[in-house]
Every structure is written in structure tokens, then in C-alpha cells.
Amino acid sequence: MVSINPSLILVSIIQVIIALVFSPLVSGIIRKIKSYFQSRKGASVFQPYRDLLKFFKKESTISENSSIISIFAPFIVFASYLSACVLFPFLGFKNGSGYDLITFIYCFGVARFFIALAGMESGSSFGGMGSSREMMISALSEPVFSIVLFALSLSVLSYNLNSMLSSGWSIPGILLSISMFIIVIAESSRLPVDNPDTHLELSMVHEGMILEYSGPLLGIFHYASMLKQFILIALFVSIFSPNIENFVLAIFIKFLLFLLTVFLIAFIESIVPKMRLFKLPGFFFATGILGVLAILIYFIK
């Protein structure tokens, strides 16, 4: 049964607003840091907002081979990431239920299903290639993601995301944080798994699927992937941050950790090359083994 709790609704609305407002900024900061590493000045951190505005001013065109699915896919993807925003308390309000782990994981599944369908719509090989690779990578990264989250849920004996907040602040949590960090990178389609900046057919996964879009619909897709990145980093931070009672201080610490994570993502992206597609299984397998090791350290006494 769905219980409606007014304060919970308020918290959800605040979370959604924060995610919507700040997710392009995160992308902008990452780009800025990357440009410093490449000895460039780089665009302003507010550039993603301008890009989104530009997209929304343009005309929408889609492929003539596509059907109604192409038109609705951006909205479905966007709505499922927003649902993921609501389904976990990254601000750390520890009341209310319904924050459960499995639904949160499957929010990404909904988005992935439809974005892959949209990629297959156009009839060109690029979209199909993107979809097929996306599904392959998801079959590799989802299990690893779930190993980490299940290990954490096992350490607190609950599959409620509320009680899992700050559960990674422990010795085995270090191992888990490494694998979780790799998953954050992989799922937000960054190097070494996917390249967010190119449209070269050999190196694109996420960009390949939305190649045929333009204008507002493409804008929604870009916004959605920024949202996804924001949610993943927020999840990472809220799980692996220390548990502090004082609310304001906790938010502040989380904010600092968030910035640190963003810096790390940009740094990693600047120093690693893109990995070959068929090197990925081994890469993810190693990441998963880290999670398994952490479980062993936790519980085998």
C-alpha cells in the first residue's frame, strides 16, 4: 500500500528541484576541470545550461523511419531518472519508507530499455550499434552495481536505502567504494567505458543511440544523462560519507565530498584512454571481485 506522508512529498520535491537545477552544473564543472588538465581555458561552468537552452530553441527533427516510440522515449527516460531521484534520500532525511533498493536499480532499467529502443528506431547502423553495446555493458555493469549495493544492504541488514546511507563508512567500504566509483563512471557513460564527447562510431555507446535526434528531444536526452550522472554521484556520496548527526554539517560534508568526487571523475577521465569494448568484461569482472572480497571481509570471521 502506498502511504502518503506530506513531509516526504516535500523532501521529494526539494530533491527533484536540486537535481534538476544542479545536474547541468556538475557536467559543466567536470568539463572545466578537464579543460584545465588539457591546458585549455575551457568554457564556463554554466555552458551546459546554455546548451540546453539552445537545444530547446531549435526545431525537432527525427528520422522518418521512426515511430511513436522515438517521440515518447526521451520523456520516459527523463521521467524514470526523476523517479530515481525521488526513490532515494540523498539529502539524508531519514524518515519515511518506500526508498527501496531494487526499485531504485530498476529505474535505470526502464530508462535503458527505452533508450535502446530509440536507438534501434532510425534504421541506421550507428543507433543499432549503440543499443547493442549499451545492452551488453548494462548486463556487465548492473550485476556489479548490485553486488556493491547488496553488500551494503547486508551490512545494515535492510534493503531500505534510508538505512543504507553512510553504511559504506567502514574498512571493507573502501573496496566497495572503489568498485562503486568505477560503476559511477561506467553508468554515466564516461571514459574508459564510453566517450561522452565524440560521435566516432568506434567509440560511442550512449551518443550513438541518440544520434538521430536533434533539437528539444535531444536536449531532453542530454538533460536526462546529466541527471543520471548527478544521481549516481549523489548515491555514491551519500553511501560513503561519514554518519554525522548535525544536519547542516552533514550536508556540508556531503557537498565537499561531492565536489571531490566530481574532481576525481574529471581527473580519471583526463588520464585514462578509452578501453576496447571486449576488454570490458574483464574490467567489470575485476570490479565485481572487489565487491565479493569486501563481502568476505565483512562477514567471514
Binding site: V2, F56, E59, T61, I62, S63, E64, N65, S66, S67, I69, I71, F75, I76, F78, A79, L82, S83, D100, I102, T103, I105, Y106, C107, G109, V110, R112, F113, A116, L117, M120, E121, S124, S125, G128, M129, S131, S132, R133, M135, M136, S138, A139, L140, E142, P143, S146, I147, F150, L154, Y159, L211, P216, L217, L277, F278, V292, I295, L296, F299
Partner: protein, 655 residues
């Protein structure tokens, strides 16, 4: 009230038998016999459904002796909620399939339709009696009837050789399973007086754990063969595609669930709680089945074979629930056990709904295009939007996408697995935590598979002229699909209510199985997602995002044609390569020197079960038979001598 349920059930059986026999009288007039058979079947399923409702509402189970078939063998019915649940699924699905058949079987008017009606209605009839009988011998009789009648349905198009081969394989495998069921039941019967279920249940209380384990293993192999667990699954992808689509829908959605019914009835209800390794074995088999089933499904291009492999996967998920429940029962955590059992029963229902939906829509497509190979489909969403929508909903449900029903039951299984990991000890914690990870992997691969199936069949450009000129089938085909698609959504949203009713079934089996509260998340997700989706759509309307210009796809300067699209084979290629250690793909490239542009490329899989398990056994049996041939000399004297020797040995033995 009580009488009404029984009377309706007998009436429905009578109508099934009428629906089997009356069309034979009209077999000259094909359309008429088809109509008669289908309408009788419709009536019978409606009656069966109503009787199922009445039986489900009975407060206590009722034993009802009908007639004595032979000394000590009574045809007795036992009406309880478990029977009623399966009877309800069977009747509901059959009702819709009968509507579908009315139109679909018209393409078989050159064949003997009356024969089809005869076998089909008797097949359903034997299944519905099978769920209610309460005596081992009668159970076996109807089990065997069900197997043989379904064999005739599988080989309905017996003129094709591959169909005959599939039929032979099917009947061989199903009898292989039946042997184990018979041995289990008879061994059990040696402990009890009589073979009625009550007597056996009482006997099970005083059996040693060793005998119980032998019986359990017999049932696991026997019912597992019928269910199609790995490695006994190989008849499924052969038999299901060979049958007409309405039959494959029936087989996939209900017939393989008779095995689940058998496991629930014999193992959980009658055999009682066993040691912890029973549950672990079932859980392990479930995980293996689901992973292997979905991997093979990904490699298939034949749409019905793909769906058959997905049956293997979903049976694996159902087995996971059963195994978890058994483990929890062994640990005496009855509430958690009940949640896991409910999850698996709920998945039985859900799988029946979405699998029949997928089979029906796949059947209508393959009938229209004239092939089951997905590489000839494409672009069907433009001409067949309704079929496409129902197939999409089925795909979403089977890929466990919230808020549909597939997610609702898998969610309960996830919760059970996580609960198991909280209660397990030391190293078992690790295995318990890896089982939901395996389920997540299964879900991801299933989603990949259905993205492939849906997009290759329905999206982009048509790959053949038949696909280009496809027409939407008429209302009688669309209607059952639409109802099933609607129930997919409804079952997902009403998950907590359905689970509440299902928990009543388990409460009747054992009063310990008491679930107070199910945590479901579908409705919550639906509300949240719905709010955001409608908000974004409204936003899109206001800002004019739906004013879209359609332009040709950029094909790098060349005009696109359907040969340049991504095919099903290329879609699954990365996954084939990722799991190549298991799938063993090997490529064949043949070049024709006379025609430089004539290159044939094929990539086949090496199926490990047939290569490493079935072929050696087959070879061994054949060689052994050839060696033993000398016994069959053909002279009567020798046979008399055999009889004489046997007699002497037996006399000495039982002196």
C-alpha cells in the same frame, strides 16, 4: 455454494469432452467444426473459471470420492485453494486462447481441424482434472494423458520432418520424466496404505529423511523435465515452436506449470519440510536455468524458439522462489518461506499472462509474414500498431520493468533472497548475496533480449516485402492480446491484493505460513513515474516539443535500405562474444572465387548440453543395444529358455 463449484466443474469437463467429440461428427465442414470446438471450449473454460472461483472461496478443503475405477483406486477430487489457483489460470488463459483460435486456426483449414479440436479440448480437460485429482494413480493417468495429447498437438503439422523430430524428442523426454515421477510415487506408496494423497501425507510424517530425499530427487528430476529446467530443457525449444502458436502459448504458459503444481502438491504440501540442501539444490537449479535460458534466448532469431528459451528462464525464476521457500522452511522461518512461495506462485500467474501474450502476438506475426525468422521482420509497428503495443507490453513485463507484473513477482523474489542473505551463516552469506546478483544479470540479459526482439521485429525498416505489406490482423486476434496486455498492467498495480489472496493458498497448506504484510512497490513507482511522465508531457505540449519534422536518416551519403540495418545477429554479437567461453560460437566464412561479392558468413553455437551430455548417452545406449542384440535370436526355443531361467531364478530368490 459448495455444490455449485462442483457442478460447474463437472459441467466444464463435460463441455470439454463435447468440444472434443462433436467436431468429429462435422469434420467434413471445416469451418463449422472449428467453430463448434472453439465455442464448446470457450463455454467450458468460462465454467471452469467460475468453478475455480467457487472452489477458491471454500473455507476448508473438501475431499470428494467420485467413483471406484479399480480396486483400491478411487477417482477422488480434493478441492483446495492450490488446485483452484491453477484451475483459474488454466481456464482464464484457455478462454482467451480459444477466442484467438477461432481466427488463427483458419490458416490450417487444409488440415484436419476436427482432429485439432479433439486433441486440444481433451488436453485442456485432462489438465484441469489433473489439478484436482487426489490419488497418485489417477494423477499419473491424467499426467500421461496430458503428455500424449500434447504430443499430438505438437506434431499437428506432421508433414514437416523437423516437427516429427521435435515431437519424438518431446515424447521421449516427457516419458523420461514420467518414469521418475512413477518411481517416486510408488516408492512413497510402499510406506503408506493406499495411494491416495491423504494416506501418503500421513506416511510422510513417519518416513526417514533418507527415503524422503530419494523421493524428493525423483520428483525433482521428473517434474523438472516437464518444467524444462537445465539440463533437461532441450525439448522446450524444439517442441514449442513446432506446435501452432495457440498450442505453444498453452504449453508454455500453463502446461509446464503443471510441474510446478506437482512440486507444490507433492513436495511442499505432502512431503513436508526437508533438510536445507533440498532448497539449495532447487535454488541453484533455478539460477542455472534462468541464466542459461536467457543466454540461449539471446542467441535465437527464431521468435518462437526465443520465447521458448524464455520459458526456461522464467521457470528458473519460479524455481528460485520455491527453493528459497524450502530453505526458509528448513530454517523454520515460516513467514519468509511463505513470502518466497507466494512470489513463485505469483510468478506462475504472471508468466502465464505475459508468455501467452507474447506467444499469441508472435504467432499472429509469423502467420502474416510466413516465417518465424526475425531477420525477415522489421517496421511492423507502422502497419500493425496494436500488435506492436501488446508485444511491447509483454516485452516490458517479461524484462521485469516496473510497474508491470513481471517486476512485481521478481521483486518479491529479490526481497526473499536478500532476507536469506541476512539470515544465512558465514560462507552461505556470500552465496545468498550472489543469488540476487544472478537474478539482476538475468534481468539485464532478458531486457537486452527483448530490446532485440521488439526492435528487430517492429522498428526501423521492413526487411522483406511481406513485412512491408503486413496488415493488422482482425479483432478476434487483437482482442485476447489486448486483454492479456491489460492484465499485465493490472496485475502489476494490484500486486499487493493478488499476493494477499495467494498467501491464503499457503495458509491452507500449513498454518505456519502466515504472512501479515507484503511489501510491494509497483503502485508507488507507477504513481511517481506517472506524475513525472505526465508533467514532462505537459511541459512538452506547452513548449511545442511535439511539432516534429520527419527527415531521412543520415546514411553517410548513401540512401538507407533495410540491408544496412542492425540485424538480430549483430545485435546479440557483443553478448555472444562476452559469453563465448560458454556459448562456443564458431564462424564459417565461405568465399566463392567465381563471384567475388558472394560471401557466406554464418556463426553457429556449439550447444554444450547436446554435445557433452545427450550425445554421449545416446551413443552409449545405441552401442549397448547393438551389443545386446544377440539375445534377440528369433528362435522360439531361446525365448522359452529365457522364461524358464527367469522362473527358476525367481523361485530360488523367493524361496
Amino acid at each position: 455454494m459448495i455444490d455449485l463449484g462442483f457442478i460447474l466443474f463437472y459441467l466444464s469437463v463435460g463441455f470439454y469432452i463435447l468440444g472434443a467429440i462433436v467436431p468429429l461428427a462435422f469434420s467434413k465442414n471445416k469451418t463449422l467444426s472449428l467453430k463448434i470446438g472453439s465455442y464448446f471450449g470457450l463455454t467450458a473454460s468460462a465454467l471452469g473459471f467460475m468453478s475455480g472461483v467457487f472452489i477458491f472461496l471454500l473455507p476448508n478443503p473438501i475431499l470428494f470420492n467420485l467413483l471406484v475405477i479399480a480396486p483400491n483406486i478411487v477417482l477422488q477430487f480434493y478441492f483446495d485453494k492450490l488446485c483452484a489457483f491453477f484451475l483459474l489460470i488454466l481456464s482464464a488463459i484457455n478462454f482467451l486462447i480459444m477466442i484467438y483460435s477461432l481466427e488463427y486456426m483458419k490458416s490450417y483449414l487444409n488440415d484436419n481441424i476436427a482432429k485439432f479440436s479433439f486433441f486440444y479440448n481433451l488436453f485442456i480437460c485432462s489438465m484441469s482434472i489433473l489439478f484436482l485429482v487426489s490419488n497418485s494413480i489417477t494423477f499419473l493417468i491424467f499426467w500421461e494423458l496430458m503428455s500424449i495429447l500434447s504430443y499430438f498437438l505438437v506434431t499437428f503439422e506432421y508433414r514437416h520432418q523437423h516437427v516429427r523430430k521435435a515431437g519424438f524428442f518431446y515424447i521421449f523426454m516427457t516419458h523420461f520424466g514420467t518414469v521418475f515421477i512413477i518411481s517416486g510415487l510408488l516408492y512413497w506408496g510402499t510406506f503408506s496404505n493406499g495411494l491416495s494423497f491423504d494416506a501418503m501425507k500421513i506416511a510422510a510424517m513417519h518416513m526417514s529423511m533418507f527415503s524422503k530425499s530419494i523421493i524428493f530427487l525423483c520428483f525433482l528430476i521428473g517434474f523438472g523435465t516437464k518444467a524444462g529446467i537445465v539440463p533437461l530443457h532441450i525439448w522446450l525449444p524444439m517442441a514449442h515452436p513446432s506446435a501452432p502458436s495457440n498450442v505453444s502459448a498453452m504449453m508454455s504458459s500453463v502446461m509446464i506449470k503443471t510441474a510446478i503444481y506437482g512440486i507444490f502438491r507433492f513436495v511442499i504440501d505432502m512431503l513436508g519440510v526437508g533438510p536445507i540442501w533440498w532448497g539449495s539444490v532447487i535454488l541453484f537449479i533455478g539460477i542455472a536455468s534462468s541464466l542459461i535460458g536467457v543466454l540461449y534466448a539471446l542467441m535465437e532469431h527464431d521468435i518462437k524458439k526465443l520465447l521458448a528459451y524464455h520459458s526456461v528462464e522464467n521457470i528458473g525464476i519460479i524455481f528460485m522462489g520455491v527453493g528459497l521457500g524450502a530453505i526458509f522452511s528448513s530454517m523454520s522461518l515460516y513467514t519468509f518461506a511463505a513470502i518466497a512461495y507466494c512470489a513463485s506462485l505469483f510468478h506462475v500467474l504472471n508468466h502465464a499472462v505475459f508468455k501467452s501474450l507474447l506467444f499469441l502476438s508472435a504467432g499472429s506475426i509469423s502467420k502474416i509474414i510466413g516465417t518465424r525468422d526475425m531477420e525477415h521482420y522489421g517496421g511492423l509497428i507502422k502497419n500493425m500498431p496494436k500488435t506492436a503495443l501488446s508485444f511491447l507490453i509483454g516485452s516490458l513485463a517479461i524484462s521485469a520493468i516496473p510497474p508491470l507484473n513481471g517486476f512485481a513477482s521478481e521483486y518479491q523474489i529479490y526481497i526473499s533472497m536478500l532476507n536469506l542473505s541476512y539470515f544465512a551463516h558465514s560462507y552461505w552469506k556470500l552465496f545468498a548475496i550472489l543469488s540476487p546478483v544472478a537474478l539482476i544479470l538475468t534481468g539485464a540479459l532478458a531486457a537486452a533480449c527483448f530490446v532485440k526482439a521488439f526492435s528487430v521485429s517492429f522498428l526501423a525498416l521492413p526487411r522483406s516485402s511481406e513485412a512491408k505489406n503486413a496488415k493488422e490482423p482482425n479483432l478476434m486476434i487483437i482482442l485476447p492480446e489486448a486483454i492479456l496486455a491489460f492484465s499485465c498492467i493490472l496485475l502489476g498495480l494490484l500486486a499487493s491484493n493478488i499476493l494477499f489472496y495467494i498467501s491464503k493458498i499457503l495458509l491452507q497448506i500449513d498454518s505456519n505460513f502466515n504472512v501479515v504484510y507484503f511489501q510491494t512497490t509497483n503502485l508507488l513507482f507507477f504513481i511517481i513515474f506517472g506524475i513525472f511522465f505526465s508533467l514532462s508531457i505537459i511541459f512538452g505540449k506547452i513548449f511545442g516539443l511535439f511539432e516534429i519534422r520527419k527527415v531521412p536518416t543520415w546514411g553517410c551519403g548513401i540512401s538507407l535500405n533495410s540491408k544496412m540495418e542492425y540485424t538480430a545477429a549483430s545485435f546479440s554479437q557483443p553478448i555472444r562474444r562476452t559469453y563465448s567461453f560458454f556459448l562456443r560460437p564458431h564462424r564459417k566464412i565461405t568465399l566463392n572465387p567465381a563471384k567475388p561479392l558472394d560471401i557466406l558468413f554464418s556463426e553457429d553455437l556449439k550447444p554444450p548440453f547436446t554435445t557433452y551430455l545427450y550425445s554421449p548417452i545416446r551413443k552409449f545406449i545405441l552401442n549397448f543395444s547393438i551389443k545386446m542384440r544377440f539375445l534377440q535370436s528369433g528362435y522360439v526355443h531361446f525365448y522359452l529358455a529365457y522364461i524358464f531361467i527367469t522362473l527358476v531364478v525367481l523361485l530360488l530368490w523367493y524361496r
